[in-house]
């Protein structure tokens, strides 16, 4: 009886409950706007506090060759983060070159070839890789991977080929450098690319596969000529998201790249990345100009990852929409 009255009071519009929708909508919109506001605030804060360095050096903050925060009698401090930017780009490039084919293989295996019983646990394992904190990759890299990789790859390869190929030149000192950082980053971005690739491949309609098999193609030809091209945009989007993750990776890079401002041709030589430069120096900054230059570097990272995200989302959304529309 009581319940019935409850319901009636709603339909009559007399209950105060009826007027809850407006505050509910306002409340959710305001709190959702906090997310938007946060992104805008992050951009504005970094833009404003990077102003000093940007007016002093312009683009040289990012492409200048010399990073010298120390004030001396003979030289003004100079901030050119090219060594760090170069280290970021190189290590991310190494990571992408290694991770992209592997991740595509994993995505293809999980979506097309894997028996269903194996697919779920394997997907879980691959996603577990993404959940491991990056500092653990750093610890593992420092104590296990770098000594191992030094012995089986870096030292022999630089001994054998270092004289002929400058970017494989020795000497391999501690083993920390661009190459190992790139490899560890590759492990870290594998799950990002692989799971997204798997998802977009699964969106491909079965008619694509059936048509290809019906004209006598092998399984691989079906995958490579009918399935992968269909989701090419999505796979590129996945790679872009992986690149975004590699560019911004801080802890593994800080621990593994060696943090050296010297530019060296060799991939085995220590270098530095933009993120690890910020992590290492911001809390010890010696002047407001130094601080401002570091914030500019962080701002650039934010901007690049924002653009990559936007592009990747658009591509994945394009694929998703195209398939939902049932076009072929």
């Amino acid at each position: 009886m009581a319940k019935q009255q409850h319901a009636e009071s709603w339909s009559n519009g007399k209950s105060v409950l009826r007027h809850g929708d407006v505050p509910f909508r306002i409340g959710t919109v305001v709190l959702a706007s906090c997310v938007v506001g946060l992104v805008l605030a992050m951009g504005v804060i970094m833009f404003v506090s990077s102003g000093e360095a940007r007016t002093a050096f312009g683009w040289d903050v990012l492409v200048g060759q010399v990073w010298n925060p120390v004030v001396t009698d003979i030289a003004e401090p100079t901030f050119g983060a090219w060594p760090a930017v170069r280290g970021t780009l190189l290590s991310s490039l190494v990571a992408l070159v290694i991770a992209t084919p592997l991740a595509m293989g994993i995505g293809i295996f999980l979506a097309e070839l894997c028996p269903p019983a194996l697919s779920t646990p394997l997907s879980f394992l691959v996603e577990l890789l993404a959940a491991i904190p990056s500092v653990i990759y750093g610890v593992w890299g420092v104590f296990v991977f770098v000594p191992f990789f030094n012995q089986v790859f870096s030292v022999p390869v630089s001994d054998a080929l270092g004289d002929y190929i400058p970017w494989l030149a020795g000497p391999v000192a501690t083993g920390r450098g661009v190459m190992v950082t790139g490899i560890i980053m590759a492990i870290m971005i594998l799950p990002t690319i692989a799971s997204l690739t798997r998802d977009v491949l699964r969106l491909v309609p079965n008619t694509q596969r059936e048509a290809m098999l019906a004209i006598g193609a092998t399984r691989w030809e079906t995958i490579w000529l009918a399935v992968v091209p269909y989701s090419r945009a999505g796979i590129i989007g996945a790679v872009m998201l992986g690149l975004g993750r590699a560019l911004g990776e801080t802890m593994a890079a800080t621990l593994l790249i060696g943090n050296s401002q010297r530019i060296s041709e060799s991939l085995f030589a220590p270098a530095t990345t933009a993120a690890s430069l910020v992590a290492n120096e911001l809390t010890n900054s010696v002047s407001s100009l130094h601080e401002s230059a570091l914030i500019t570097v962080a701002f650039a990272l934010f901007g690049i990852t924002l653009v990559l995200n936007l592009g990747a989302r658009l591509l994945i959304w394009y694929v998703d929409r195209g398939m939902a529309g049932g076009r072929s």
Binding site: L31, V35, M104, F109, L122, P133, V139, L301, T305, R313
Partner: protein
Amino acid sequence: MNTPKNYRWRKFVDQFMRGSAVVATGCAVIPLIAIIGYVLTLGASALSVQFFTDIYQPPNMAQAATDGSEPAFDPNDPFAGIGATQDGAVVGDGSNPEANVYAGAPVGGVLHGIVGTLIITGLGLLLALPIGIFAGIYLSEYRNERYATIVRFCCDVLSGSPSIVAGVVIYVLVVIQSQQFSAFAGSLALMILMIPIVTRTTEEMLKLVPESMREAARGLGAPTWYSTFTVIIPAALPGIVTGVMLAFARGAGETAPLILTVLGSNVMSTDLFAPMASLPLLTYRYTESPYPGENTLAWGAAFVLMMLVLVMNILVRVATRRRAGASR
């Protein structure tokens, strides 16, 4: 039946490429097993009662040097550190604390880090929950609005931007203004990183609630806000809780923003407005430490972090699978 001329070649390519996909998957699983295996074995050997009940103890290097005793291993040998951590318990039996410095037996514990991580991450999660959950409700209940697309994109920007950027923003906004590294600043930085996770899982979980439940509530005359709080959220609660757990696990492992905001501490501190210790920070600092004993502590701290992540992820996996099974 006449087989095409290139049939054997095509069959070979098919077999080879499908094999490659399997090998690629193996390549992803090997580092995963290696990392988890190393952290679990080496980390477990670092565990002791003292590890969980004691705080930082300085290694007494000076005494060991004047002692004139031979180091237990060659400090220049990169592999020695690993051996020492494995054999630490054997060489350093506790009777000679100076020998322990070289032998890799840990001195002290990480209780301050565990307490600090719980406080910083817990507070960050508390701050992130209202924004995250209400933004998720907005995205799910008003999903077709244009503004929802903007909120969703901003969420992607937050989750895609490097974690160090959150640290930089809070460093500029809080640490510089208050002239003080503090646990609270760290919580704010973690909040930025946890909001997108909570938002997206809440949204996904609310969308999984069948439309018929919304219609039934509406049919009884319930206003949107009432049905959301009494019908839809309770139905999606297990899923939302798993999202919150994942956010906690992600936040607990973040290191880069904490370097810029919390700074770390060697003493037990529960003051929110002072620097505090935290597990990932200890892992990072102890990894870079020259003392094998502290390196062992790094493995131990990594072990605790890894267990947190593994347990959370497996719990989430079990919970969501049961859910998926029940709704079928």
